[in-house]
């Protein structure tokens, strides 16, 4: 396969995994996060440091996901104390904190980041691994949706007080959503770091968080297949048209506005309405 296509395939998979992991937190559990790139970056930086230090890729992979999940647990604790709109602002702050912190750390490469991250396998192998991560994340989401855990998430998303009065331990369930979703972002970050072999702070900035959110919103927040389609489309769009790449943020922003106005359920919602006719 052409090297460019293979590389594109990997980045599509990474974005799909990112969008699915955010969908677990925001779509399933209703906790709007505007800082998902911080967890993506945590996985990337932790694994990069380990791999550059000579650790086996398997160790870097697991450590990146766990580190992101631990940070997600801490941010999740904040979600127990703030209202939904304040949570969005809190997570946005976490993203700025992450980038600001990394930029000033010499041991993390500062502004110029970490380079020469060893590639553990061929591009084809990385692509396979990336799509295995996508499949695993999607299957986890399907399993969650069918389980009492998914029911609990839906109850929280729709009416937290009613859920609590029915005996749901809302705090624990929210933390579970944060830990699983952020760990997923961390694993995606590990793959990104080892495919790109160079990471810089801006690769995990607020704009990236908003781009991931755009994939979720355009695909259909809460829908598994919709978010996969949304992530694929919004990753490929800038690659297919030069114009789209130049005006990527403008297009993503406009798409979110249009989706909210025309089909708040995103592409998945639109398909559902068409089927119902």
């Amino acid at each position: 396969m052409d090297a460019y296509i293979l590389s594109l395939t990997i980045f599509v998979a990474i974005n799909v995994a990112l969008a699915l992991s955010l969908n677990l937190i925001s779509g399933f559990c209703g906790q709007i996060s505007l800082g998902h790139a911080a967890f993506y970056g945590t996985g990337a930086y932790v694994s990069a440091i380990l791999s550059v230090s000579g650790a086996p890729f398997a160790v870097s992979f697991v450590a990146g996901g766990i580190a992101a999940g631990i940070l997600g647990f801490v941010v999740g604790l904040a979600s127990l104390r703030v209202r939904e709109d304040f949570l969005a602002i809190t997570t946005m702050g976490v993203n700025f904190l992450f980038v600001g912190f990394v930029r000033k750390q010499g041991w993390l490469g500062g502004e110029i980041g970490i380079s020469s991250i060893p590639k553990p396998m061929s591009d084809a192998g990385m692509a396979t691994l990336a799509w295995i991560l996508v499949a695993a994340t999607a299957l986890l989401l399907v399993a969650i949706r069918r389980s009492w855990l998914g029911t609990g998430f839906t109850m929280i998303a729709q009416d937290e007080q009613a859920a609590t009065s029915l005996g749901l331990n809302v705090g624990r369930f929210k933390l579970a959503a944060f830990v699983m979703g952020t760990a997923g972002a961390g694993f995606a970050g590990v793959l990104y770091a080892h495919v790109a072999q160079l990471i810089v702070p801006d690769a995990f900035g607020f704009v990236v968080s908003i781009s991931i959110l755009a994939m979720v919103v355009v695909g259909g927040i809460g829908s598994i297949y919709g978010v996969i389609v949304g992530a694929v489309l919004l990753t490929l769009l800038p690659e297919l048209a030069r114009f789209a790449n130049d005006y990527k943020l403008l297009i993503f922003g406009a798409l979110m506005v249009v989706v909210m106005l025309i089909s708040p359920g995103g592409l998945a919602g639109a398909v559902q309405r068409l089927r119902a006719r």
């Binding site: 969650i144 009492w148 029911t151 839906t154 729709q158 009065s165 029915l166 331990n169 369930f173 579970a176």
Partner: protein, 249 residues
């Protein structure tokens, strides 16, 4: 062992005392109604009992255990259930799904374990039975966002019954219902009580309260004004004054 006992319970909001020094005991299998004019503190008292808000002072015991510092979800898991004055359906679900969701209460404290258990067909069937019990089984597949208030009030009762509660706290379940619907729901409350459940009812519909209650407690300005048999309590001049104005006394 009493299902519910409050001792010197008080709660203020700013400078306003919503509940003042309320000591109340609810006996096993009793149907106790808490009445009082608007703003008397009835809903605040229920919120204190369920743990939605903490008291400033005082103690709450459920089934003999001091739960004053126990969070709301844990109290619900002890077998108390609340239907809300302003209905709180999960609007993205059908009525049947609302009730089925509550049947997972045994899994609601352990997220990891709950991932490995899923709602079964039997849960949906049981939810349908509960909706039949409250008289809206035929609407099980209708969305909670499109049914009338009366359906949602009934669904709320079915939903809390799905958690198999020992103590039912019903906050104005008859409000907004017509005469016939109110009578049906009141009869249902009696049946639930006769089935072995202790019931605390907060209600403005005095006719139904007097008809179905074993005992009545009256709140006025946050304080317990009177308690006793319905006919005796409602005949007291101070209770009539609180309800109808001072000239009535």
């Amino acid at each position: 062992m009493e299902p519910l006992k409050t001792t010197s319970l008080s709660r203020s909001f700013g400078g306003v005392a919503a509940v003042r020094d309320v000591s109340l005991t609810v006996k096993d299998r009793e149907l106790l109604s808490v009445i009082g004019p608007n703003g008397a503190g009835k809903t605040t008292l229920l919120k204190l009992i369920t743990g939605q808000i903490p008291p400033d002072t005082g103690k709450i015991e459920l089934f003999g255990r001091d739960v004053t510092a126990v969070p709301q979800y844990a109290r619900a898991q002890m077998g108390i259930a609340l239907t809300h004055q302003i209905v709180r359906p999960f609007r993205g679900m059908t009525l049947g799904e609302n009730v089925t969701a509550a049947m997972g209460h045994g899994h609601f404290n352990r997220p990891v374990s709950s991932l490995f258990h899923r709602p079964a067909a039997a849960d949906a069937a049981r939810a349908r039975e509960l909706l039949d019990l409250v008289g809206i089984g035929q609407a099980a597949d209708r969305s909670a966002s499109e049914v009338p208030l009366g359906y949602l009030k009934r669904m709320q009762i079915a939903r809390v019954l799905a958690t198999d509660p020992k103590l039912l706290l019903l906050d104005e379940p008859l409000a907004g219902l017509n005469y016939s619907e109110a009578g049906q729901i009141a009869d249902l409350i009696v049946r639930l009580n006769e089935g072995g459940r202790t019931v605390v009812l907060i209600e403005h519909n005095l006719g139904e309260v007097l008809r179905i209650s074993h005992r009545v407690a009256v709140l006025d300005n946050g304080a317990l004004l009177a308690e006793g048999l319905p006919a005796e309590v409602i005949a007291r001049p101070d209770v009539r004054a609180a309800y109808l104005g001072k000239e009535a006394g």
